[in-house]
Symmetry: none
Subunit: 142 residues, 2 copies
Protein backbone atom coordinates (compact mmCIF):
# COMPACT_ATOMS: atom_id res chain seq x y z
CA UNK A 1 0.00 0.00 0.00
CA UNK A 2 1.79 2.94 1.25
CA UNK A 3 5.42 2.90 0.43
CA UNK A 4 7.34 4.01 3.39
CA UNK A 5 7.71 7.71 3.46
CA UNK A 6 9.41 7.76 0.12
CA UNK A 7 9.48 11.13 -1.42
CA UNK A 8 7.22 11.42 -4.40
CA UNK A 9 9.02 14.42 -5.72
CA UNK A 10 11.82 13.72 -8.11
CA UNK A 11 13.88 16.69 -7.19
CA UNK A 12 16.96 15.59 -9.03
CA UNK A 13 15.23 15.28 -12.34
CA UNK A 14 13.54 18.60 -11.96
CA UNK A 15 16.82 20.27 -11.08
CA UNK A 16 18.61 18.73 -14.02
CA UNK A 17 15.91 19.76 -16.44
CA UNK A 18 15.95 23.32 -15.22
CA UNK A 19 19.70 23.62 -15.34
CA UNK A 20 19.82 22.13 -18.80
CA UNK A 21 17.24 24.45 -20.26
CA UNK A 22 18.65 27.42 -18.42
CA UNK A 23 22.13 26.83 -19.77
CA UNK A 24 20.90 26.05 -23.24
CA UNK A 25 19.13 29.35 -23.35
CA UNK A 26 21.97 31.17 -21.68
CA UNK A 27 19.96 32.54 -18.83
CA UNK A 28 21.18 33.31 -15.36
CA UNK A 29 19.45 32.17 -12.23
CA UNK A 30 18.09 35.65 -11.72
CA UNK A 31 16.74 35.71 -15.25
CA UNK A 32 14.78 32.55 -14.62
CA UNK A 33 13.74 33.93 -11.28
CA UNK A 34 12.22 36.93 -13.03
CA UNK A 35 10.43 34.77 -15.56
CA UNK A 36 9.04 32.24 -13.18
CA UNK A 37 8.61 34.09 -9.92
CA UNK A 38 10.83 31.61 -8.12
CA UNK A 39 13.69 33.25 -6.29
CA UNK A 40 17.25 32.72 -7.46
CA UNK A 41 18.27 31.19 -4.18
CA UNK A 42 15.52 28.64 -4.37
CA UNK A 43 16.39 27.93 -7.98
CA UNK A 44 19.97 27.28 -7.01
CA UNK A 45 18.88 24.85 -4.35
CA UNK A 46 16.58 23.04 -6.73
CA UNK A 47 19.21 22.77 -9.44
CA UNK A 48 21.59 21.29 -6.93
CA UNK A 49 19.04 18.89 -5.58
CA UNK A 50 18.88 20.34 -2.10
CA UNK A 51 15.56 19.90 -0.43
CA UNK A 52 12.18 19.60 -2.03
CA UNK A 53 10.45 22.55 -3.68
CA UNK A 54 6.91 23.25 -2.63
CA UNK A 55 3.87 22.77 -4.78
CA UNK A 56 3.66 26.29 -6.12
CA UNK A 57 7.25 26.34 -7.25
CA UNK A 58 6.94 22.96 -8.89
CA UNK A 59 3.95 24.24 -10.80
CA UNK A 60 5.77 27.38 -11.88
CA UNK A 61 8.85 25.51 -12.97
CA UNK A 62 7.09 22.74 -14.81
CA UNK A 63 5.16 25.45 -16.58
CA UNK A 64 8.42 27.09 -17.54
CA UNK A 65 9.80 23.77 -18.70
CA UNK A 66 6.65 22.88 -20.56
CA UNK A 67 6.61 19.45 -19.07
CA UNK A 68 3.75 17.70 -17.36
CA UNK A 69 3.98 17.63 -13.63
CA UNK A 70 3.77 13.88 -13.45
CA UNK A 71 7.24 13.87 -14.86
CA UNK A 72 8.47 15.45 -11.73
CA UNK A 73 6.08 14.16 -9.18
CA UNK A 74 5.25 10.52 -8.94
CA UNK A 75 2.30 8.63 -7.68
CA UNK A 76 -0.45 10.38 -9.51
CA UNK A 77 -2.86 8.14 -11.22
CA UNK A 78 -4.10 8.72 -14.64
CA UNK A 79 -7.70 8.61 -15.38
CA UNK A 80 -9.23 11.12 -17.66
CA UNK A 81 -9.41 8.84 -20.65
CA UNK A 82 -12.79 8.13 -21.99
CA UNK A 83 -14.79 10.59 -20.05
CA UNK A 84 -14.50 12.88 -17.16
CA UNK A 85 -17.24 11.37 -15.12
CA UNK A 86 -15.44 12.66 -12.13
CA UNK A 87 -17.60 15.24 -10.47
CA UNK A 88 -14.78 17.49 -9.53
CA UNK A 89 -14.38 21.01 -10.72
CA UNK A 90 -10.75 21.76 -10.54
CA UNK A 91 -10.42 25.14 -12.12
CA UNK A 92 -12.96 27.58 -10.82
CA UNK A 93 -12.99 31.22 -11.74
CA UNK A 94 -10.51 32.16 -9.10
CA UNK A 95 -7.68 29.98 -10.28
CA UNK A 96 -7.83 30.21 -14.03
CA UNK A 97 -6.45 33.71 -14.60
CA UNK A 98 -3.61 33.02 -12.22
CA UNK A 99 -2.73 29.87 -14.05
CA UNK A 100 -2.71 31.66 -17.38
CA UNK A 101 -0.65 34.43 -15.89
CA UNK A 102 1.90 31.99 -14.61
CA UNK A 103 2.22 30.56 -18.08
CA UNK A 104 2.55 33.96 -19.62
CA UNK A 105 5.22 34.96 -17.19
CA UNK A 106 7.16 31.91 -18.15
CA UNK A 107 6.96 32.75 -21.84
CA UNK A 108 10.25 34.12 -23.02
CA UNK A 109 8.74 35.56 -26.14
CA UNK A 110 6.96 38.15 -24.09
CA UNK A 111 8.34 41.01 -22.12
CA UNK A 112 7.23 41.29 -18.57
CA UNK A 113 5.01 44.20 -19.49
CA UNK A 114 3.41 42.36 -22.35
CA UNK A 115 2.85 39.29 -20.26
CA UNK A 116 1.16 41.40 -17.70
CA UNK A 117 -0.97 43.13 -20.30
CA UNK A 118 -2.05 39.86 -21.87
CA UNK A 119 -2.73 38.49 -18.46
CA UNK A 120 -4.93 41.42 -17.64
CA UNK A 121 -6.76 41.12 -20.91
CA UNK A 122 -7.42 37.50 -20.27
CA UNK A 123 -8.46 38.17 -16.73
CA UNK A 124 -11.06 40.67 -17.80
CA UNK A 125 -12.37 38.55 -20.62
CA UNK A 126 -12.55 35.48 -18.51
CA UNK A 127 -14.33 37.25 -15.73
CA UNK A 128 -16.88 38.53 -18.17
CA UNK A 129 -17.62 35.13 -19.58
CA UNK A 130 -17.50 33.11 -16.45
CA UNK A 131 -19.69 35.31 -14.34
CA UNK A 132 -23.03 35.25 -16.04
CA UNK A 133 -24.43 37.52 -13.39
CA UNK A 134 -26.20 35.04 -11.25
CA UNK A 135 -24.55 33.79 -8.15
CA UNK A 136 -24.76 30.25 -9.32
CA UNK A 137 -21.66 28.65 -8.01
CA UNK A 138 -21.14 25.73 -10.24
CA UNK A 139 -22.97 24.35 -13.15
CA UNK A 140 -25.12 21.51 -12.08
CA UNK A 141 -23.94 18.20 -13.22
CA UNK A 142 -26.16 16.33 -15.47
Amino acid sequence: MVRDAKSLVNTDELGRAIRRKREETGLSLRDVADETGVSASTLSRIENGTGKPDADNIARLTAWLNVPMERIMGGAGRREDGDEGAPVVYFPQEAMPDIVEAHLRADRNLTADTAKALSELFRVAYAQFSHPGSDARNRKRR
Copy 2:
Protein backbone atom coordinates in the same frame (compact mmCIF):
# COMPACT_ATOMS: atom_id res chain seq x y z
CA MET B 1 -9.48 38.12 -1.97
CA VAL B 2 -6.08 36.79 -2.54
CA ARG B 3 -4.18 39.44 -4.31
CA ASP B 4 -0.59 38.45 -4.26
CA ALA B 5 -1.18 34.94 -3.15
CA LYS B 6 -1.33 33.61 -6.65
CA SER B 7 -1.35 30.14 -5.34
CA LEU B 8 -1.31 27.62 -8.10
CA VAL B 9 -2.67 24.96 -5.86
CA ASN B 10 -6.39 24.72 -5.79
CA THR B 11 -6.69 23.59 -2.23
CA ASP B 12 -10.40 24.06 -1.94
CA GLU B 13 -11.30 21.80 -4.79
CA LEU B 14 -8.81 19.21 -3.74
CA GLY B 15 -10.36 19.15 -0.31
CA ARG B 16 -13.87 18.90 -1.68
CA ALA B 17 -12.87 16.06 -3.98
CA ILE B 18 -11.31 14.11 -1.16
CA ARG B 19 -14.23 14.60 1.17
CA ARG B 20 -16.66 13.57 -1.52
CA LYS B 21 -14.86 10.38 -2.38
CA ARG B 22 -14.18 9.58 1.24
CA GLU B 23 -17.82 9.92 2.17
CA GLU B 24 -18.99 8.07 -0.87
CA THR B 25 -16.83 5.14 0.05
CA GLY B 26 -17.72 5.41 3.72
CA LEU B 27 -14.18 5.75 4.94
CA SER B 28 -12.99 7.62 7.99
CA LEU B 29 -10.16 10.09 7.97
CA ARG B 30 -7.93 7.53 9.60
CA ASP B 31 -8.82 4.99 6.97
CA VAL B 32 -7.73 7.33 4.23
CA ALA B 33 -4.68 8.19 6.27
CA ASP B 34 -3.70 4.54 6.31
CA GLU B 35 -4.26 4.18 2.58
CA THR B 36 -2.46 7.31 1.51
CA GLY B 37 0.14 7.91 4.16
CA VAL B 38 -1.22 11.36 4.85
CA SER B 39 -2.02 11.87 8.49
CA ALA B 40 -5.62 12.26 9.59
CA SER B 41 -4.98 15.69 10.99
CA THR B 42 -3.54 16.89 7.72
CA LEU B 43 -6.42 15.31 5.84
CA SER B 44 -8.88 17.15 8.03
CA ARG B 45 -7.14 20.41 7.31
CA ILE B 46 -7.09 19.78 3.59
CA GLU B 47 -10.75 18.83 3.48
CA ASN B 48 -11.59 22.03 5.28
CA GLY B 49 -9.41 24.12 3.04
CA THR B 50 -6.94 25.21 5.67
CA GLY B 51 -3.50 25.86 4.32
CA LYS B 52 -1.81 24.32 1.35
CA PRO B 53 -0.66 20.71 1.28
CA ASP B 54 2.90 20.09 0.22
CA ALA B 55 3.96 18.37 -2.96
CA ASP B 56 4.22 14.89 -1.53
CA ASN B 57 0.77 14.98 -0.05
CA ILE B 58 -0.71 16.36 -3.23
CA ALA B 59 0.86 13.51 -5.13
CA ARG B 60 -0.43 10.95 -2.67
CA LEU B 61 -3.92 12.35 -2.68
CA THR B 62 -4.25 12.85 -6.40
CA ALA B 63 -3.07 9.29 -6.75
CA TRP B 64 -5.76 8.18 -4.34
CA LEU B 65 -8.31 10.24 -6.23
CA ASN B 66 -6.99 8.83 -9.45
CA VAL B 67 -6.88 12.15 -11.16
CA PRO B 68 -3.99 13.77 -12.97
CA MET B 69 -2.13 16.28 -10.93
CA GLU B 70 -2.64 19.08 -13.39
CA ARG B 71 -6.20 19.13 -12.26
CA ILE B 72 -5.08 20.24 -8.88
CA MET B 73 -1.99 22.18 -9.70
CA GLY B 74 -1.65 24.64 -12.53
CA GLY B 75 1.22 23.13 -14.43
CA ALA B 76 1.69 23.27 -18.10
CA GLY B 77 2.80 20.64 -20.19
CA ARG B 78 2.81 18.18 -22.75
CA ARG B 79 3.70 14.61 -22.51
CA GLU B 80 6.37 13.30 -24.71
CA ASP B 81 5.60 9.80 -25.70
CA GLY B 82 7.54 7.02 -24.25
CA ASP B 83 11.10 7.75 -23.54
CA GLU B 84 12.02 8.71 -20.09
CA GLY B 85 15.57 9.80 -19.69
CA ALA B 86 16.71 12.95 -21.36
CA PRO B 87 13.40 13.63 -22.70
CA VAL B 88 12.28 16.89 -21.71
CA VAL B 89 11.00 18.42 -24.86
CA TYR B 90 10.61 22.09 -24.90
CA PHE B 91 8.63 23.95 -27.40
CA PRO B 92 8.14 27.57 -26.72
CA GLN B 93 5.79 30.05 -28.12
CA GLU B 94 3.59 27.84 -30.24
CA ALA B 95 2.52 25.93 -27.21
CA MET B 96 1.08 28.75 -25.22
CA PRO B 97 -2.33 29.14 -26.87
CA ASP B 98 -2.78 25.40 -26.82
CA ILE B 99 -1.99 25.23 -23.16
CA VAL B 100 -4.45 27.95 -22.38
CA GLU B 101 -7.06 26.30 -24.53
CA ALA B 102 -6.54 23.00 -22.77
CA HIS B 103 -7.09 24.65 -19.47
CA LEU B 104 -10.17 26.42 -20.70
CA ARG B 105 -11.65 23.22 -21.99
CA ALA B 106 -11.07 21.59 -18.65
CA ASP B 107 -12.91 24.40 -16.94
CA ARG B 108 -16.36 23.24 -16.11
CA ASN B 109 -17.45 26.74 -15.37
CA LEU B 110 -17.42 27.44 -19.07
CA THR B 111 -19.54 26.05 -21.80
CA ALA B 112 -17.76 24.56 -24.76
CA ASP B 113 -18.67 27.55 -26.87
CA THR B 114 -17.42 30.01 -24.34
CA ALA B 115 -14.20 28.12 -23.85
CA LYS B 116 -13.67 28.18 -27.57
CA ALA B 117 -14.40 31.87 -27.80
CA LEU B 118 -12.04 32.74 -24.98
CA SER B 119 -9.45 30.51 -26.49
CA GLU B 120 -9.69 32.27 -29.82
CA LEU B 121 -9.53 35.65 -28.22
CA PHE B 122 -6.42 34.68 -26.38
CA ARG B 123 -4.88 33.16 -29.46
CA VAL B 124 -5.32 36.31 -31.47
CA ALA B 125 -4.08 38.58 -28.73
CA TYR B 126 -1.11 36.40 -28.03
CA ALA B 127 -0.14 36.16 -31.67
CA GLN B 128 -0.24 39.90 -31.96
CA PHE B 129 2.09 40.42 -29.07
CA SER B 130 4.49 37.59 -29.48
CA HIS B 131 5.37 37.54 -33.16
CA PRO B 132 9.09 37.70 -33.72
CA GLY B 133 10.79 40.64 -35.31
CA SER B 134 9.26 43.16 -33.06
CA ASP B 135 10.78 44.29 -29.83
CA ALA B 136 9.06 41.50 -28.06
CA ARG B 137 12.22 39.89 -26.90
CA ASN B 138 13.71 40.73 -23.63
CA ARG B 139 16.79 42.79 -23.96
CA LYS B 140 19.57 40.54 -22.98
CA ARG B 141 23.19 41.31 -23.31
CA ARG B 142 25.83 38.79 -23.45
